[in-house]
């Protein structure tokens, strides 16, 4: 316990739920303030900007729909990431796993020749397997050779991106319009139904919500969930208890990669109906999902809320693009600041600063 003039700093043994919530809130507020400063520097009133964002993303039916539409892949990826992060596997590769899931689904849609009603289920299954396989590769490399999970998952992202590029410029090349390449459009049976004229492909949404609940139950009430939590909290004790690091690592990446794959299926079967350029399929969903999972403190249920929050930000980005002429990229300012303040504020979770009124 150090004593300084005016306040004392002590180690906090455990951060209660309340503290975690408030610190997270503080981080978001700090991010919004700093982002506001950037708006001001640019010459836009921050109040106006935030007004626009909120009214744009929550104030109209269209805006709300766009928010939810953005939240869907964040939800799926985010839930998967909470599982991976709980086992201390730093899956930065959700972006790539999403793309491979999309590729698998596109392959089924375009070439499998399956009858109509079977098409969508097959696409989801293959999308899951594709994403899971892509995620298992770094997992195997880590378990067998000790390779760093951050680097391998990151590298796999770019391999996936170029794989998709190759497909749409090469073997799966469809009609090109104005220099953009994409595959043929999927048959009608491979299109996900959407909600009353919005772009919300509701089957994926439902899938995401169901999986969030299922994963919550998985983590808190199953044996494997218990093992994952033990490994994530104390790998030594896990070894002591005879828990197999190998099996658990493979399991979490199977799940995490698979869920990202499902998100990929949703995007191309629900929004685009064809395989596009990788940056059109995913505008950084895989990376944003990291923040979603982190903010949710690795709780799959909380991801429902945090994915919605970032859906608001992304939909807001669209609004700002249109009304203020700013590029969509600017949502990265929010993302970057929120993430940074989140991890920067974690020191407040480890230490408690209390102010002394008397010297």
């Amino acid at each position: 316990m150090k004593r300084r003039v005016g306040f004392k700093v002590e180690r906090r043994p455990v951060a209660s739920g309340r503290v975690v919530f408030f610190v997270s809130l503080l981080a978001i507020l700090a991010a919004l303030v700093v982002a506001g400063i950037f708006f001001r520097i640019y010459g836009v009133s921050p109040i106006r900007a935030y007004q626009l964002i909120l009214s744009g993303s929550l104030g109209s039916r269209f805006g709300l729909a766009e928010t939810v539409r953005r939240a869907i892949p964040l939800l799926l990826c985010g839930v998967g990431l909470t599982i991976a992060f709980r086992a201390l596997f730093w899956n930065i590769g959700a972006e790539g796993q999403l793309l491979i899931g999309a590729v698998a689904a596109a392959g089924v849609a375009l070439f499998s020749g399956l009858p109509g009603p079977l098409l969508l289920p097959a696409m989801f299954i293959c999308g899951f397997i594709g994403g899971a396989a892509w995620g298992l590769i770094p997992a195997i490399l880590k378990v067998m050779l000790g390779l760093n999970d951050v680097i391998t998952t990151l590298m796999m992202n770019y391999i996936a991106i170029y794989f998709v590029e190759w497909l749409i410029h090469g073997p799966w090349k469809g009609p090109t319009a104005r220099g953009f390449a994409y595959s043929d459009t999927f048959p009608r049976a491979a299109w996900l139904p959407t909600l009353f004229g919005t772009r919300i492909h509701w089957p994926t949404l439902v899938l995401g919500l169901v999986l969030a609940v299922v994963m919550y139950i998985f983590v808190t009430r199953t044996r494997s969930g218990f093992e994952i939590r033990v490994i994530g909290e104390n790998p030594d004790a896990a070894r002591f208890a005879g828990i197999s690091q190998l099996k658990t690592t493979l399991l979490v990446m199977f799940i995490s990669g698979g869920f990202a794959g499902l998100a990929g299926v949703g995007e191309i079967a629900g929004i685009h109906m064809r395989l596009l350029g990788p940056t059109n399929i995913s505008m950084g969903y895989g990376y944003t999902a990291i923040i979603v999972a982190w903010l949710a403190r690795r709780n799959p249920l909380a991801v429902i809320v945090t994915s919605l929050l970032f859906g608001v930000i992304m939909a807001g980005g669209d609004v700002i693009k249109v009304s203020l002429g700013l590029p969509f990229q600017l949502i990265n300012v929010f993302n970057g600041l929120i993430l940074f303040f989140l991890i920067g504020s974690e020191i407040l979770l480890r230490y408690k600063i209390s102010f002394l009124l008397r010297r």
Binding site: V14, R229, A241
Partner: protein
């Protein structure tokens, strides 16, 4: 008399406290210039602490350090080096991927700015190496060297910095016998050249072999300082472990049952790939406690890990109730009702962030009734927690409390509750009362004795000789990975045990 002439080092009245323990309790320690002085004692006697005070790693609460007649303030290792005091630690401070010469030069400010004149460095190192017979290839990377060679690098590091006083902390614990011989030759050469050497050890052979004088520490105090020539091993052993009457816990007479554990010629390596167990054999019966006495680092931990499935043996066999269990996994040993009370209860024994309830089922969550197929049965788990908390008197607000908030004693009780709840046939307990207050210690010992009554076979590994002598029926002494002897606890002489702990094989009958 306040005459400090002839003393290279004088420590007066050194007191060093840590939370809960007085490591050095008013120590007066004098070393002549040009002698090899051994600092002898068991673990926790305060030897390393004292030398760390001398080396500037710790600041003492009280006391003075006087070097060559001048009082000094040792504020840091840098200050120590400025006063020409060097230390070779038990765990080497070397960077494996750097070369020998780079390691020697690391952290040194030679006033030549960023550039290292490697030619000059090499010349200087070579001349030192040749003078003391410490030849080594300077370009080799440290990870490629043997342990003995690495130690040589550490010595060269100190000599390069022109020390007059060299402290060596348990230097032979990682060396082969040949390397030990070489080291002693080197030390003699250094001393002939005027260096003063302080040698921390617990091995009596070495004390007798290499030192001029020896100081024995026990429980933070100096017991005696003697010229080596005027003492012998039995005497030193007695001084090291003490002569006081051991208060024996009320223990029911032993009712030895069938043989539970048979260990045959067990060999194993430690984490560094060096031999830790060299042919350990013993039997253990139900209803008895076999205490394993020995100074830390002589193979006890590795023995516990092999017996509980956390470490593979390289040779030998282990039988549990006539069934061979050599190299079974931790999970398998767990399923065979082997309980493990680990040495590091926070690092290995519990998952600090999880609740008491969850920690209690850490090992049996896969068995019914705690889980059915994949799902955990929370009701049973809660019931189990309730029962355990009352049976073992675990003091906590509720079973949902995260384990890391508990006191040391309560954490240990959680571990015990978990390990002992299935009525294990074999209990491997390592330092079960380490760091606990008197009340908690009593409780833990009572629990273990109750298990003994029930008929469990207990292997008690502890550095606390008093604990071993009160709790055990037989005592096995381990040294350098070998069994020095097995004695009956009632009739064992503590001096004899001390001798065995320090390297002398028991000449009587084996039990």
């Amino acid at each position: 008399m306040d005459n400090s002439e002839g003393y290279a080092i004088e420590l007066r009245g050194i007191v060093k406290r840590f939370p809960g323990v007085v490591a050095n309790d008013g120590i007066d320690f004098k070393v002549y210039r040009g002698e090899i002085h051994c600092l002898l004692g068991e673990n926790g006697a305060g030897k390393t602490t004292l030398m760390r005070v001398l080396y500037g790693l710790y600041r003492p609460e009280e006391g003075k350090i006087i070097l060559n007649g001048q009082p000094v303030h040792m504020t840091s290792p840098r200050a120590a080096l400025n006063h020409h005091v060097g230390m070779v630690h038990q765990h080497f401070r070397l960077v494996p991927t750097l070369s020998v010469e780079e390691n020697i030069v690391l952290g040194l400010d030679e006033g030549t700015g960023p550039f290292v004149n490697f030619r000059k460095t090499r010349e200087k190192i070579s001349s030192i190496a040749n003078e003391y017979g410490l030849s080594i290839d300077l370009q080799t990377k440290v990870w490629q060297l043997t342990v003995g060679q690495q130690q040589r690098v550490e010595i060269l590091k100190a000599l390069y910095r022109e020390v007059d006083i060299l402290i060596m902390d348990e230097p032979t614990s990682v060396l082969t016998p040949q390397e030990v011989d070489q080291l002693f030759t080197t030390l003699r050469t250094l001393v002939d050249d005027g260096l003063t050497i302080i040698f921390i050890t617990h091995k009596l052979d070495e004390v007798m072999r290499v030192s001029d004088r020896v100081t024995v520490l026990r429980k933070g105090k100096v017991v005696s300082t003697l010229p080596t020539a005027k003492t012998d091993k039995p005497n030193l052993a007695r001084l090291m472990v003490g002569r006081e009457v051991i208060f024996r816990l009320k223990k029911s007479p032993i009712r030895r049952r069938e043989k539970i554990l048979e260990v045959n010629d067990l060999h194993a390596l430690n984490d560094r790939g060096l031999p830790a167990l060299l042919g350990v054999s013993f039997n253990l019966f139900g209803g008895e406690t076999l205490g394993v006495a020995g100074v830390s680092g002589n193979g006890q931990y590795e023995l516990a890990e092999v017996l509980t499935g956390l470490r593979k043996s390289t040779k030998g066999k282990v039988f549990l109730a006539k069934k061979e269990v050599t190299n079974c996994s931790a999970r398998e040993m767990n399923d065979l009702k082997v309980a493990h009370i680990p040495a590091e209860r926070i690092r290995m024994g519990i998952v600090p962030a999880l609740s008491i309830r969850e920690n209690l089922i850490l090992k049996k969550y896969r068995r019914s009734p705690f889980s059915y197929r994949e799902f955990l049965n929370n009701k049973e788990i809660e019931e189990n927690a309730r029962r355990a908390m009352s049976d073992y008197q675990i003091a906590a607000p509720s079973y949902e409390t995260p384990a890391k908030l508990l006191s040391g004693g309560n954490i240990q009780k959680v571990v015990l509750a978990r390990e002992l709840s299935e009525n294990p046939s074999l209990i491997v307990a390592v330092h079960p009362t380490y760091g606990l207050d008197i009340g908690a210690t009593e409780q833990v010992r009572k629990i273990l004795l109750a298990q003994r009554e029930r008929g469990a076979a207990t292997l008690l590994i502890s550095e606390d000789l008093e604990e071993i002598m009160t709790m055990s029926d037989r005592i096995l002494v381990i040294f350098n990975g070998e069994v020095m002897g097995i004695l009956d606890a009632e009739s064992a002489d503590i001096g004899e045990i001390g001798l065995m702990m320090a390297g002398t094989r028991h000449k009587g009958e084996e039990l």
